[in-house]
Symmetry: C2
Subunit: 175 residues, 2 copies
């Protein structure tokens, strides 16, 4: 049974552990290696992360960002909302075009949690997706309404972590 | 604080959920994107998986396999053991050479669980690793002796999964 012949799914990677975005990147690499077209929209993040540099060199992968590149403290601004909503619109276009086999909405769960975009909008997109497009949603705090309409959900659980709060993540490993 | 200036760690991705190997692949991409050298040894697996095809095109990533390319049912054969042990020897050489910044032992936990290689040997390698080499171990069933000496452990928990037993994984998505 080939991939092409099977209905594609909605996958979620959530939880407080490491490996959500990295798992999505791995999926992108795997799909591209199999000849499929991949689109990645990164919410929240706006800096050019190491992974995007490497991904941009791979045929079949298109990666974009809609974050403002700074950590959102407290209440998000109108600009944060506009950025996230335009990113979602762009992703919707890509999904509905049917030109991409795999669409990754990286950190979209955090954008939902912060109220930058609405659950109803994401669920609406998922419900209307062409059946041959696989959608992957990542980020902590995945809302239950999204979990309900996902086919495959994995929780990354932190079992052991060496860093204390305030110690920065390492370039090339955590971002 | 840069990556270079920090002690590198031992990371484990285990659990019954999806995303362990894909997270490791994502880490490889991210590290390569930051200019670091990456070595991947895949245990158990022996087929040329989609991800290896794409990874082999990326500068700074070297990927090898030591599995026999078939599912091990029941008791592993002597050949399975020899393959896994030679893969571990090769990984040990690479780690001790200090020429690679990130070394991924993919599915090594399964090889340990099956008794193809010994926990003591893996712990010995970890304990002697150069301090500027990051090691990542993936696979279900990570033994507690490995968990104890790891710095960072993430469990991928299956929350929801659409497949019933016996339905094959999809090329380009699950492998």
């Amino acid at each position: 049974m080939t991939y092409k012949s099977k209905k594609r799914l909605v996958q979620v990677y959530t939880g407080n552990g490491k490996g959500k975005t990295t798992a999505a990147i791995g999926l992108a690499i795997r799909a591209a290696g199999a000849g499929y077209k991949v689109y990645i929209q990164q919410f929240i993040k706006g800096r050019i992360y190491s992974e995007l540099k490497a991904l941009s060199k791979i045929k079949n992968i298109k990666a974009e960002q809609c974050g403002r590149g700074c950590f959102i403290k407290g209440k998000p601004t109108m600009l944060d909302k506009i950025c996230a909503q335009s990113g979602l619109l762009r992703a919707e276009q890509i999904i509905m075009s049917g030109k991409y086999d795999l669409v990754i909405l990286d950190e979209v769960n955090v954008a939902l949690k912060l109220g930058l975009i609405e659950c109803e909008k994401v669920i609406d997109i998922i419900s209307r997706k062409p059946k041959d497009v696989e959608i992957v949603l990542t980020g902590r705090y995945c809302p239950s309404c999204i979990l309900e309409c996902a086919d495959l959900v994995t929780e990354m659980r932190e079992i052991k972590h060496p860093y204390k709060k305030g110690i920065p993540a390492r370039r090339g490993i955590e971002y």
